[in-house]
Symmetry: C2
């Protein structure tokens, strides 16, 4: 702004931005000015850019600038936001390398800034998970499970699918009454309660989020499970004691590959060579930097390792991988539910925070959904045992046998009061 440039300069910049994002089938417009449409295809959506300053930002650092401008309302997407992001992600696979060195460098800088040391983790986790339980209650399921669900069929409800996921994890681990489990990163505590209630195990569950731990403890008391589920407000690095089972659902994303060796040591210290464990995490087909915008605005310190990178946690201790399942499309489905519920609650969210917050979280949820749909993100469950233990199953049949399938509806009856609580 302030600089007088003829209109064709805007168009030149717009075309460069369009090239930088790989000629995606989208229309780009500067409000009241230049207009670039894709060649020979009808556009998936139209991006309307408010002004030249926003346009210039897109050229300098498309990822951060797009997110920030969207958040600030300086840029609108007319059309389906998720489909738009899918189109961008797909086209960027074949895009030129413009800005990639910058992106890599900036990503490394973020890694240092947001490093998941014990104190860094506490700060990072606090910023995301302590936004207030009331906020998460607006759009998560009634048990507040903030990880990929397992949909027995694509039309299962989110509530059903979250119970089915918890049960899928328990059945893979073949939990037996009286066994001991340590959970690293327990969120609002639903899985630990499910394991104790449905499988009769004792659970020690760790989490550095104060609000989540407080909520989880209240639920355990209300369910009369406090004697068998202990919630500890601490870092996974503080885990002590010996257990039959190690489980971690949706925490690896906050560990970071620089700390895989530490995690490896902790798992081995916890279950030795005769225990078993399960890691459930967002991963990738091959190494790539995680969205800088999401790390800046939503999820500080987030990492998504490739499957091969994640095996750096298990290989040094000679752990034996029994089973890996990729549930990518289940996370896309989970995010569809979350995004829909979030949109239905956007006025309440705006009243809690502001419209900038609403726009940032919409972009984060829509962007994650698009990333799972196009395959930029994957969801891996790795089941493993210590090197001295025989495999858990002969075949996987029992996991899928109809007569031993989880009675999800029965479980749901027991927990249906939860949403009203606290």
């Amino acid at each position: 702004m302030g600089i007088l440039l003829p209109g064709f300069a805007d168009e030149w910049v717009l075309k460069r931005v369009h090239t930088a994002i790989g000629q995606a089938p989208i229309r780009m417009v500067v409000r009241g000015g230049a207009d670039v449409s894709p060649q020979g295809v009808s556009p998936v959506a139209t991006v309307v850019i408010d002004d030249r300053k926003t346009l210039a930002g897109l050229l300098r650092d498309p990822e951060i600038s797009f997110g920030d401008a969207y958040m600030d309302g300086k840029l609108e997407v007319e059309g389906d936001l998720v489909r738009f992001l899918e189109a961008i992600y797909r086209s960027m696979e074949s895009s030129p390398t413009i800005g990639k060195w910058y992106s890599r460098l900036a990503s490394q800088w973020l890694d240092v800034w947001q490093d998941n040391t014990p104190s860094g983790s506490r700060k990072n986790i606090h910023r995301h998970y302590d936004l207030g339980n009331d906020f998460y209650k607006l759009w998560l399921d009634d048990q507040l499970v903030y990880t990929c669900a397992y949909f027995p069929t694509p039309s299962s409800t989110l509530e059903h699918a979250q119970v089915a996921k918890m049960d899928h994890v328990c059945r893979k681990l073949r939990l037996e009454p009286g066994e001991t489990v340590v959970e690293a990163g327990c969120g609002w505590g639903a899985l630990a309660l499910h394991m104790a209630r449905e499988y009769g195990v004792s659970v020690k569950a760790y989490n550095v989020s104060r609000e989540q731990i407080a909520f989880a403890r209240q639920r355990a008391r209300a369910e009369g499970l406090s004697d068998r589920v202990e919630y500890i407000e601490d870092d996974y690095r503080a885990i002590s004691g010996q257990f039959d089972v190690f489980v971690s659902v949706g925490m690896l994303e906050h560990v970071g590959s620089d700390h895989f060796q530490e995690l490896s040591d902790i798992i081995h210290r916890s279950i030795g060579d005769k225990g078993r464990g399960l890691l459930h995490f967002i991963g990738r087909n091959s190494p790539a930097v995680f969205s800088r915008w999401i790390r800046k605005q939503i999820f500080p310190g987030a990492h998504t390792p490739s499957l091969r990178a994640a095996l750096q946690i298990l290989e040094p201790k000679d752990f034996s991988v029994l089973d890996v399942e990729n549930l990518r499309m289940h996370y896309a489905k989970t995010l569809e539910h979350w995004l829909e519920r979030f949109e239905s609650s956007r006025q309440q969210v705006a009243a809690m925070y502001d419209s900038r917050f609403v726009r940032a979280w919409r972009l984060y949820l829509a962007g994650s959904l698009a990333a799972f749909r196009v395959g930029h993100l994957q969801l891996f469950q790795i089941l493993f045992t210590g090197s001295q233990r025989q495999p858990i199953f002969w075949t996987r049949d029992p996991l899928y046998a109809a007569d031993t399938k989880p009675a999800v509806e029965k479980v749901r009856e027991k927990v249906k009061w939860t949403h009203a609580m606290s």
Copy 2:
């Protein structure tokens, strides 16, 4: 021999050998001389060593010397050979590093000597697989499937389990009629025939073993499937053309990690970003050198990568891993059947070759069985797709649904003539 040494010198050497193998619960005896028993436990078996020269060899290079002495009949194991080897493998995990540097160096030398270049592979494969189909018919199943079977229950027959394995592979890949499949390393051709006959696909199957290819072609003609199954006597590096599916069952062991990049390129060239594939191979929990004795006497050029190492084939091409299944105990069960049949046929084998050959193969089969039982070897099946393809399954349920289970007995009726053939 020839050197006059007092008896206590033998005992000193025997004790050193016993320490080198980690104080396994076994008794060691030099015929008519020294005798070392484990402390405080009853021995699993007794090793009887013929003479001092053999004893000295065990101290110098236990692995090679033990195998060669057993093969030459200079050393006997009194008791259960498999249990004896399991005890040795378990105790060696905690053994001192005596001889480990030597073992590593000697292993590297073998790697160079037996490198799996195109000509090296041909030599290596010829030495093992071209021993004569009549030999393998004595102890494999009637379709000559020389890879890990899939036992629906531990008491399934080997014949049933090999058909179930082939079907498990086909169902994981969800083959559809009319699709094209390329198979790298097809053995005696049973899987290619199964895919074409039961799933209506066309298969191009590669193998450098002349005897195996000749047998496979004859079977295809006899079954009237020559128009849909093409057997090509060539290296996997010669694979050309585009396919819907890439499959390789039991070939990775002959590729070697130095050639993973080549294999990666070939898979990507064959199925692009929209195909799917399955790798079935003997692997490990963590990197380790493969038995030098087996490579020297039985399987030149053999390698067993860790799961993480094997992912070096898939990660560079952004392939998406959908499913990993570890069938370790199924390979132990398969080897129990093979070893039992082999022992029943040992007189015929001795007549074909000699007793040295019988002893070498007994040790190889028993050693492999012991290694799968104790977990030194694993069996991985990795199912993957190109980066541009949606996952094959919503959940794995259809793989295990009773009403879509393979009609193994029906398949067996169609192939039961095979054993009599050629």
